[in-house]
Subunit: 311 residues, 2 copies
């Protein structure tokens, strides 16, 4: 597979500065998340603990980083988008709690720790997820650094990305259609709604907060959409290679996603790899159109390469 | 128990006109809810069906009526608050889906029909609830009849009413503390967070949309808070009277709330009835302070009397 990043002038430059900025942003997100979540004084304490457990577990904070780096690419100060960035992590954590529930993927482990319902019980986990989703809306609607019009616009996009044409429908499609034959288009829709749609909203939020023109907002949204699809297919390729190497189904071992139709099973590994390349190239082209192909690009594509290398 | 409504000049007048206006408002809410919910074209169709099933079941639409009648009391046109009113019904329906889940009250029936999870399965019910809560934020954030500042303010109040100090915490308190001894203050907090808090937000929303002064917004919020507490204690009195009459625990027959501590079990029926009167009188005084003691008062207190009479 040709590397879609080759030939980009900015690659290989400033990597040390990059990692300092990225680590500063990531740490700022973690600190702010800890402030924005209910603490030990909340009643009942167990609900607050469950919410903190789900959100503050170690992670890349990929969605908030998309928001912060997109805002930075369009000239916003680092703090302008911090609360909105945290809101996206809350929504992401809520979606993981729900995906893991006994009635859904019935997962015992997430990032090497017990899932929230295994640690706190199912009712508390569901309420923590609902509380976190709700808190995301509360954080943005109460963010006094943002003009009222920006808040209303961000909240509307957030709602679109979560709702009946967003994450919620992605999870429902995944569960309802698990035994059905899927076409490549079905799988793209599912992949987009299950994960990509929130990345799109996170990236667009950064551009909106920075006051980027509408065409640039759309272009960073397309960047995130393509990147999300590339990530998903790459993960499916990694799973398929693992099965081919070992005869074991990684999904089956994890008690989830067993025997599911993916783009790899529909198209075969070569065409799936070509689709990854095409999505990455389109993502890069979209960023170039937006004039945002600096640190944001190096971070996002670097993360992609690191994930592939680690597999 | 003295009737707190006696002596109010407006009672007994215009009851026919009242019922026409109320029925018009209720029908407008039902029609608009049907438009705002995902329809058969949504994917997956089953998720949309579950959401419609939960919201469009027959009901009084009490929270939306609070919003519409409060907006009317402060001079807003009937349509100005319609979408916000519908958003409160979506949140209410979402909270009922969640309360009924196997991991919570494990209820089979709601308003005489199968609960959403019994009809559509647990995963779809949970996703429908999350989708409905999210849609409530989407409806208000996308309501172009409202100025941006009003939208952001409404959304912030809605989030406060749902979240870690609202409905979500009320449900968690109820589940976590079910076996513990409760004081009268504990029960008031629980009753407020389980139901009253959303009525407060619904009433305040109507006042905010109509541009009422801050003191009036607070007064209608206090009206709704007191009314919600009165409703809850009255329901507990009805349950206690049923047990005393028949020897049967109505809650136990329904497979829920069995043997729970209520204000009636803590204070005894006489003091509990006195608390209802005190809350109703305070609710009425708050409306009078707000200058909103017309149709809104007749509707709310009339509903209370009808519920008591029907028991």
């Amino acid at each position: 597979m040709p590397c879609p990043l080759r030939g980009t002038a900015s690659y290989g430059r400033g990597m040390e500065d990059d990692s300092v900025v990225i680590e500063q942003f990531r740490a700022a997100v973690d600190r702010r998340l800890a402030d924005l979540l209910p603490d030990g004084a909340a009643r009942p304490a167990r609900l607050a603990e469950a919410a903190r457990y789900a959100v503050l577990s170690p992670g890349k904070r990929f969605r908030p980083m998309l928001t912060l780096l997109t805002a930075r690419a369009f000239g916003a100060g680092p703090l302008a988008a911090l609360d909105a960035a945290c809101a996206f992590e809350m929504v992401h954590a809520a979606s993981l709690i729900l995906d893991d529930l006994p009635s859904m993927d019935d997962a015992a482990l997430r990032r090497g720790r017990a899932t929230t319902h295994r640690e706190f019980g199912e009712a508390t986990a569901i309420l923590a997820a609902v509380g976190l989703l709700n808190q995301a809306f509360g954080v943005i609607s109460g963010d006094e650094r943002l003009p009222d019009a920006a808040r209303a616009g961000l909240l509307h996009r957030l709602s679109d990305s979560v709702g009946f044409e967003g994450l919620v429908s992605g999870q429902a499609l995944d569960l309802n259609d698990r035994d059905h034959v899927r076409t490549a288009d079905d799988i793209d829709l599912l992949n987009h709604r299950k994960t990509g749609v929130l990345m799109v909203a996170a990236a667009e939020a950064g551009a909106l907060i920075a006051g980027a023109p509408a065409a640039s907002v759309a272009a960073v949204g397309e960047f995130a959409r393509r990147l999300g699809l590339a990530f998903q297919i790459q993960d499916d390729l990694i799973d398929a290679a693992f099965i081919a190497d070992t005869g074991k189904d990684l999904g089956k071992d994890l008690g989830k996603d067993a025997g599911m139709t993916t783009l790899v099973t529909v198209l075969g590994p070569q065409e799936a790899a070509a689709a990854v390349s095409a999505h990455l190239a389109a993502a890069q082209a979209a960023l170039a159109r937006a004039g945002a192909d600096g640190l944001l690009a190096r971070y996002a594509f670097g993360l992609f390469e690191a994930r592939k290398a680690a597999a």
